[in-house]
């Protein structure tokens, strides 16, 4: 699977399998994306990609584009 597909699968596990992702998607675009779901999301992304978010990254992530850039740089798990 590509990085995009793996990321989408995580989002589907957390939200619903109808969620779609664009690079400029933010938490505001997905109805259920609150602080609770954010933590779940970060955790499952860490598991899926073998990364560790640092400090405030766990609580804040600007948009999907930024997230994908981070994963492309740091992922050790394919």
């Amino acid at each position: 699977m590509t990085l995009d597909e793996r990321l989408l699968k995580v989002f589907h596990d957390i939200f619903d399998d109808t969620v779609e992702l664009r690079d400029d998607t933010t938490a505001d675009d997905i109805e259920d994306w609150d602080s609770l779901h954010h933590i779940n999301l970060m955790y499952l992304i860490e598991e899926e990609f073998g990364v560790q978010f640092v400090g405030n990254q766990l609580a804040e992530m600007a948009d999907i584009g930024e997230l994908k850039a981070f994963l492309a740089d740091h992922s050790r798990r394919t």
Binding site: D13, I39, N40, E47
Partner: protein, 639 residues
């Protein structure tokens, strides 16, 4: 979604005895969309039995919750009050899912974390209003007051801590007949004393271990305990404790461990409800020993050291079944064999651990297994829902599952060395019954605690609040506090009357305006300095002081600090020459907690909008009391 699509998904989910969690989840979602709620719940529950990972569980818990059918409730209902010392938001839906193996429908009430003492001690709290049938104290080591050594009186701290929890149980039991379930304390991995830790009475690890033992002994027959220290060890402490998630989201238990914690918590509740399974029905060939006795003869089966690794594994599994037997679980045999040959193994093979005396009932013959199991139930006068079936043959397991859905079936792997773990993982034998001796000892512990609690611990909410020795400092927001106040204004959701977010410039302006009141509250008690935890911003409009913002951090809810802050604002309003103080409650999805705040503080309702926003006023001339007897007020200028 067509019927064909559903058929394809179902085929994928049914492709193996333990379904692939992803396939089961896809099917559950499809069934939910097609309107088949019972089917969706059944397959969501299958996900939970096939996996113990956070991802599948959290997804399945969502489907399970959405597919809940209020018109078709189970006859086993649990109204569960989840009282946590840290975030429990992820655990709550998993507890509902974890009720599925017992057909227990769970409704959860979840007050903000950190409120467990106030919730229990206050007879009018939301918890008691909810009328729970189970109260779960989902607490972690941070909820204790046990400090790391060195210390002079570890025994004293330990006794005080034990009495504190026992008096909390007693308070809960005086309010309600709900089952009380206490999470014992997982012991964190940090050890300043290294390997000297277990040998010193004053290390936190040792104190927590001792506390766990004392609480578990005192709980017998009265309170259920979940041995979280054991669960953490099984799970791996480096994963159970995840500091990053503690700092970022106040998750005291790592997310990866929550499915395990949910399963075991529900197992203890089920045991409290009397749902412990009473009898294990075992097959013989390749379950209790290796090989088919009809072919290899009574001395030819693989068992004991002579049977090599396989023989050792079967012996160990027999020992494990015997430990269950000695604890009171009945042992029955269902086998397709000639009875005479089978008896000969028991009577003559010296490697057999289980004896004929250990077996309460037999069905050895050539009948189908489900028939044998039914007969065993009749012989033992047990319901089918008291039985657990253990057989190495997947076809027999499937036959029993289909014919007798009330019987639980343990799935064994191909290798007998793994049988023991499979039986360990099964939680239906979780016991609630204890011996008379245990009960007597527990009663004496609780009696001792009852006498000592009068002098050392608190039984009422007032006593509890008084015992905290709270000191609140209330003052104007100064330049040093603007940043923290700005942060609180923009992240506080629950205890927040208006949820108005303001940028740093606006907050600074509030702090500098002569016609505004911008107060902050700093709270400390004998255990902790909580820091700057509450903010009130009021703006003068003629003779009215209008409260723009009133909020407080979750961690100090239930301490009456908010009343102290409001009282200070009333005094400031008078200083400004106001006659009236006005408050507004703007409802959001998160702040129902404070819907009655102004009502409870002697404000009169002025208006309510269509959106539910309510405006309240208090005339200063009324001088209504806002007492905070348990908080000592101070200002920074006090000596």
């Amino acid at each position: 979604m067509t019927g064909d699509d559903l058929d394809t998904l179902e085929a994928a989910a049914l492709a193996s005895e333990v379904p692939d969690p992803a396939a089961a989840l896809d099917l559950a979602r499809a069934l939910l969309r097609s309107g088949d709620n019972p089917g969706a719940r059944r397959w969501a529950a299958q996900v939970a039995s096939a996996s113990e990972e956070f991802g599948p569980w959290t997804a399945a818990a969502t489907v399970y919750g959405q597919a809940q059918d209020a018109s078709d409730p189970s006859d086993r209902l649990v109204r569960l009050a989840l009282l946590g010392s840290s975030t429990t938001t992820q655990l709550a839906p998993m507890l509902r899912l974890a009720g599925a193996p017992w057909s227990i429908d769970v409704t959860v009430s979840e007050p903000p974390y950190g409120q467990f003492e106030q919730e229990i001690l206050d007879p009018s709290s939301g918890t008691w209003e909810f009328d729970p049938t189970a109260v779960v104290l989902a607490v972690h080591h941070g909820a204790t007051r046990l400090a790391e050594g060195p210390s002079d009186d570890p025994a004293g701290s330990l006794a005080e801590e034990r009495d504190r929890w026992l008096s909390l149980w007693a308070a809960a039991q005086s309010q309600s007949t709900a089952h009380i379930v206490q999470h014992l304390f997982a012991i964190p991995p940090t050890r300043p004393f290294g390997h000297l830790t277990p040998g010193r009475h004053d290390t936190r690890a040792r104190l927590l271990a001792d506390l766990n033992h004392l609480l578990a002994e005192a709980a017998a027959g009265s309170v259920g305990v979940v041995d979280c220290e054991h669960l953490a060890s099984m799970h791996g402490k480096e994963r159970w404790f995840d500091e990053r998630y503690w700092f970022a989201a106040k998750q005291a238990v790592g997310l990866s461990a929550l499915p395990t914690l949910a399963r075991h918590t529900m197992a203890v509740i089920a045991a409290q409800m009397g749902l412990t399974r009473k009898c294990v029905v075992v097959d013989l060939d390749n379950t209790l020993w290796g090989g088919v006795v009809g072919e290899v003869g009574p001395m030819g089966v693989a068992l004991g050291p002579d049977g090599g690794a396989r023989g050792e594994a079967f012996s160990a599994f027999q020992d494990q079944l015997l430990s269950l037997r000695r604890r009171g679980v009945l042992l029955a045999v269902a086998s397709k064999n000639d009875e005479a040959v089978v008896r000969e193994v028991f009577e003559t093979n010296p490697a057999m651990r289980i004896t004929l005396d250990d077996v309460s009932a037999w069905e050895v013959g050539w009948n189908p297994k489900p028939e044998s199991v039914e007969r065993l139930a009749a012989t033992l006068s047990l319901g089918l829902d008291s039985l657990v079936f253990v057989d190495d043959n997947p076809a027999e397991r499937e036959a029993v599952r289909q014919a007798l859905p009330e019987v639980d079936v343990v799935v064994l792997g191909d290798d007998p060395a793994t049988y023991g773990r499979a039986l360990d993982r099964y939680l239906g034998f979780e016991p609630a019954m204890v011996t008379a001796e245990d009960l007597g000892r527990a009663a004496s512990y609780r009696a001792k605690a009852a006498t000592s609690h009068a002098r050392s611990t608190s039984a009422t909410l007032d006593d509890f609040l008084e015992s905290l020795d709270m000191i609140a400092e209330i003052d104007d927001v100064g330049p040093d506090q603007v940043a923290r106040v700005h942060q609180l204004i923009n992240k506080t959701n629950q205890f927040n009357l208006t949820t108005r977010r303001h940028d740093l410039g606006t907050v600074t302006e509030f702090a500098n305006r002569a016609d505004a009141v911008c107060l902050r509250l700093h709270l400390r008690d004998r255990f902790a300095d909580h820091g700057l935890v509450a903010v009130l911003v009021g703006v003068q409009e003629g003779e009215v002081l209008d409260i723009d913002t009133l909020l407080m951090s979750c961690r100090v809810i239930g301490r009456t600090a908010e009343t102290a802050l409001l009282g200070a604002a009333v005094r400031r309003a008078a200083d400004l020459g106001c006659t009236t103080i006005r408050g507004t409650y703007e409802p959001t999805s998160r702040n129902a907690l404070v819907a009655d705040f102004y009502d409870n503080h002697h404000f009169a309702l002025v208006s309510t909008s269509d959106e539910g926003t309510s405006v309240w006023e208090h005339q200063l001339a009324d001088g209504a009391a806002m007492p905070t007897p348990h908080i000592h007020l101070t200002s920074p200028t006090d000596p």
